[in-house]
Each structure stands twice: as structure tokens, then as C-alpha cells.
């Protein structure tokens, strides 16, 4: 037993403060429970319970009819293609932005070791743009693009491209700054252009890390494009959304299992690629 007797309880010197903290925490969280309409009773409400238990009962066996599996395969490929194409487009935007935002190629820093105030001020809008690009979640972009360009994977690709260009651009710029700066500085001091200094001074040292981060982000993009379909942007998400709405439990299980395998494979492939290329 935790406490053998009341006398033993009074011997815990920390009991009173702990009680105080617990009461305080409950007092702070109480409004939270009210706002979230916290009512576990709704889970066992006969109507909800009936609907959900019928849904759960349909979970077994998983749907394995050939037509459904063909559809599933198509959606899986679409999800993978969405992630890959989205990331490729993101790179098109992220690379120039990262070059603009990075302090590694600063000419004014050659003399003093630090970029001049004006140069920093000029980089600031690019950094702000990168923050703006990545601070809106990709699924919000997908929701907007579905309305702008129509249902289907195009909206998902554009959404991934925008959010991930913000993430990649920021991290790329930081990676350029984290490698040894002396080669690039020496090149620029010897009169080479900034782009040449980047290609011969920064890129050789940073390539491995850039590659490894990009592959990691591809893995994240696969996860992201799976759920993109909930707002109508194609792929596995759209299938699972439809199946849930139609109470087709067997289909839901099949899609979830496919999703698990896909994420697992993407994870394995990403580890393999990073070992081979980086």
C-alpha cells in the first residue's frame, strides 16, 4: 500500500504542496473541460454507441475485392506521386530563396566578419516570406487550392510545394551558414562571383546534409499527402474519408493497413537513400 497509516501520511513533507498544485491545476483546467464540451457520457449514448458499434463490426474482415484493391493501388501511387512532385516544386522555390536569405554569401561580411546592417535588412523580407510560407499548415493551403483549382491531386501538390518551400528554404539557409565559411570567403575575396563561391565553396561541404534533410522532408511529405485527401485533394485520404462517410468499416481497415505499409516503406527507403547518398 502507498500509505500504511494516517501517521505515515503525515510524514510525507511534500504532501501539502502537491495537494495545492493539484487543486490549482484542476481549477485552471476546469474551463477547458467546459469549452471542449467534455462529456464521456456521449460515447456510451445509445444512439452514438449503436452507430459506432455497427461501424466497428464492419471492420473485420478487411475489404479485399479486386476492384477495391485496384482502386487502392491507384490511390497509393497518387499519394506517393503527390509527395514527390510537391517536394520537387518546393525545391524550385526553396533553393533561390535560401540563397537570398543565407548570410553565408554576404559580401559585406568579408571585411568586418558580419553583414552590414543594410544587407541584413535586405535579407529580412525573404526570411519573413519563408516564415509566412511555412506557418500556414499544408492542409489549409490544400483546402484553399481545392477551391481555386478544383478537386484532385493538383491542389495537394501545390499545398506541399508552398509549405515545404518555406521549411526547406529556412533550413537550407541555416545549413549554408553552418559549414566552414572560409572556402567561400576566400573565393569571394579572390574575386569570384557569389554563385561560383556557393558552388565551389559552400555546396561541397553542405551537400550531404542538404541531401539528408531533403530526403527526410520527402518522408514527411508522404505522411502529409496521405491526409491531404480529407479536404478533397486526392490520394488515400480522400478514399478513407469517403469510406468513413459510407460506414464501410472493411474498406477503412484496408486503407489504414495500406497507409501503415506506405509510411513504413517510405521510412525504410528514406533511411536507405540517406545511407547511400549521404
Amino acid at each position: 500500500m502507498l500509505l500504511a497509516s494516517p501517521a505515515a501520511a503525515s510524514r510525507d513533507p511534500a504532501a501539502l504542496p502537491r495537494l495545492f498544485i493539484t487543486v490549482l491545476a484542476v481549477a485552471v483546467l476546469w474551463p477547458g473541460l467546459v469549452i471542449t464540451e467534455f462529456a464521456p457520457a456521449t460515447l456510451v449514448d445509445p444512439r452514438n454507441l449503436d452507430v459506432f458499434s455497427r461501424f466497428l463490426a464492419g471492420f473485420w474482415p478487411p475489404e479485399t475485392s479486386p476492384e477495391f484493391l485496384a482502386l487502392l493501388g491507384k490511390a497509393t501511387l497518387e499519394t506517393l506521386a503527390m509527395a514527390t512532385a510537391g517536394l520537387a516544386l518546393a525545391l524550385l522555390l526553396a533553393i533561390p530563396l535560401s540563397l537570398l536569405a543565407s548570410r553565408a554569401l554576404s559580401v559585406s561580411a568579408l571585411l568586418t566578419g558580419r553583414p552590414s546592417r543594410w544587407a541584413s535588412a535586405a535579407r529580412y523580407p525573404v526570411r519573413l516570406l519563408l516564415i509566412l510560407l511555412r506557418s500556414i499548415p499544408e492542409i489549409v493551403w490544400a483546402l484553399l487550392f481545392v477551391r481555386a483549382v478544383g478537386l484532385g491531386p493538383t491542389a495537394g501538390v501545390l499545398a506541399i510545394a508552398i509549405t515545404y518551400s518555406g521549411m526547406l528554404g529556412k533550413v537550407y539557409a541555416e545549413i549554408y551558414e553552418s559549414v566552414d565559411q572560409r572556402p567561400a570567403r576566400a573565393l569571394m575575396q579572390a574575386g569570384s562571383s557569389r554563385l561560383a563561391a556557393f558552388f565551389y565553396g559552400v555546396l561541397p561541404a553542405a551537400a550531404q546534409e542538404l541531401m539528408s534533410y531533403t530526403i527526410y522532408r520527402w518522408e514527411c511529405a508522404v505522411r502529409a499527402s496521405v491526409i491531404m485527401g480529407f479536404v478533397g485533394a486526392g490520394g488515400l485520404g480522400q478514399m478513407i474519408d469517403l469510406s468513413i462517410r459510407m460506414f464501410a468499416g472493411g474498406e477503412v481497415v484496408s486503407i489504414l493497413l495500406t497507409f501503415l505499409v506506405l509510411v513504413l516503406l517510405a521510412d525504410q527507403l528514406s533511411t536507405l537513400l540517406r545511407r547511400r547518398l549521404a
Binding site: N48, V51, L80, A88, I139, T154, V226, I240, L256, L273
Partner: protein
């Protein structure tokens, strides 16, 4: 030489995959810049401005933001409690069978994304923030349970053993010998997940699970773009505030 050949092989495989992706999707990207579609997109984008700032709508936004915060906080708290309970099994403290079963459960909870949980919970608990809370709690319980179990496995056993040797019961030995060691780590993991969950709770509403996401979805469906813009701005501000706050806290405490 062979290493170079291998790199070349992998690179060409990646390029082939890229081309295959674009071909498979049949995306008409250039079509986005042809005809009147740029104008249509521009006019759609312009319809979002200016964002609606009537006091009535702003107070609704504040209520939605509060709801999002509450969903993430209560969800994370429930997840921490469930995760703590499951981690005891997963760390192998209560037998081998319980260990592998609870690990399986944690993996299953974790590998289903929050949004899928939310869609399922909307069926189980009805539309509204409670479904979102449950969705966050289920996914996060899987994540935290694993992290908690790892912390338990790595904590020194000597204090609890000393208490046991001195005649304390197993529960007392755990509460006073093990828990104080793992508690700081458990709290740190929970706070970190909470930060993630605030962002997630903002979009769970797309499937009807309350908060700012539901407001965004509804306003966009009703073609009330200026109102949607206010919701998006509120989301951005919330994300940036949470980022800044956690960076500040990390600098202070770390």
C-alpha cells in the same frame, strides 16, 4: 569507382521517380498560367481582402482560438495520463505479455494520424470539440506512451530498490523511488507534444471536430472569404505566438 556508379544509379532512379510522378498525376501546371485561369485565381485571392474585422466576428474568432487551445490542452493531458499508465506495461514492469501487447497498442495508436482519429471520433462522439479532444488524446497517447516507457527504462533502479529493501511496498517504492526521477522528462515530453498539438488542433475542425479549423471550413464553404481570411490570420498569429513562447521558454529553462 563502384561507389560513384552507385550514386549515379540512385540519382537517375530519383530523377526517373520525379518524372514518373509528374506524368502519373497528369498535372497541367502550365494550364494554371494559360487562358483566364490566372485572372480567376487572382480574383479569388482578392476576394479574401480586406479581412472581416467586425467586433462580432472577432469575438467569435477569440472563442474559436480558445476552443482550439482547450482541445489541445485537455487532449494532451488525457494523453499524458493514458500514456503514463500504458508506459508502465510497455516498460516491462508488469510482465512480458503485457509488455508486447501494450507496445502493439501504442504503435497502433501512434500510427493512425490525428485527422483520421478525428474523422472516426466524430462518428463516436458526434460533431464538436469533444471529438477533436479525443482524437488528439488517442494519437498523442501512443506517442507519449512510447517516450514515457523509454524514460522509465533508462532511469536508475537503485532508489526504488533501496526503498523495497527497507520494506516499502511496490507502489510506494515506485511513487517515491522512480517517479521523481522520470517526472521532469515526462513533463518536458508532454509540453513538447502540447506545442505540436496546438497546431494540429487548429486544423482538426476540417472534419468537424471544432475549433478554428471548423470555422475556416464553414466560412470557405459558404463563400465568406473575408471571414475565412480572419480565421487564417488568427491561425498564423497563434502558431507564431506558440513558436516564440516555446523558443523563449527553452532559452530560459534549457
Amino acid at each position: 569507382m563502384s561507389r560513384r556508379l552507385e550514386a549515379l544509379l540512385w540519382s537517375s532512379a530519383i530523377i526517373a521517380a520525379l518524372i514518373a510522378s509528374f506524368v502519373y498525376l497528369g498535372m497541367d501546371l502550365l494550364g494554371l498560367f494559360r487562358g483566364d485561369s490566372p485572372e480567376q485565381m487572382l480574383s479569388y485571392a482578392q476576394s479574401f481582402f480586406p479581412p472581416e474585422t467586425s467586433p462580432d466576428w472577432l469575438s467569435k474568432i477569440a472563442r474559436g482560438a480558445l476552443e482550439t487551445l482547450a482541445i489541445s490542452a485537455i487532449g494532451t493531458l488525457l494523453a499524458a495520463l493514458a500514456g503514463a499508465a500504458l508506459s508502465l506495461f510497455a516498460a516491462g514492469r508488469l510482465g512480458r505479455i503485457a509488455k508486447s501487447l501494450s507496445r502493439l497498442l501504442l504503435n497502433a495508436l501512434r500510427s493512425v494520424p490525428e485527422l483520421v482519429w478525428a474523422a472516426l471520433m466524430v462518428l463516436a462522439a458526434g460533431l464538436g470539440p469533444f471529438a477533436g479532444t479525443l482524437a488528439i488524446a488517442l494519437h498523442t497517447a501512443g506517442v507519449l506512451g512510447r517516450l514515457f516507457a523509454e524514460a522509465l527504462e533508462n532511469t536508475p533502479t537503485a532508489p526504488a530498490q533501496a526503498l523495497r529493501d527497507a520494506g516499502a511496498g511496490p507502489v510506494a517504492a515506485f511513487c517515491y523511488g522512480t517517479l521523481p526521477n522520470v517526472m521532469p522528462q515526462w513533463v518536458a515530453y508532454s509540453l513538447y507534444r502540447w506545442e505540436n498539438n496546438i497546431r494540429m488542433a487548429a486544423v482538426l475542425g476540417f472534419v468537424g471536430a471544432g475549433g478554428l479549423g471548423q470555422m475556416l471550413y464553414v466560412t470557405l464553404s459558404l463563400f465568406q472569404q473575408p471571414r475565412a481570411m480572419t480565421v487564417i490570420l488568427a491561425m498564423i498569429i497563434m502558431v507564431l505566438l506558440v513558436d516564440a513562447l516555446s523558443a523563449w521558454l527553452r532559452a530560459r529553462l534549457g
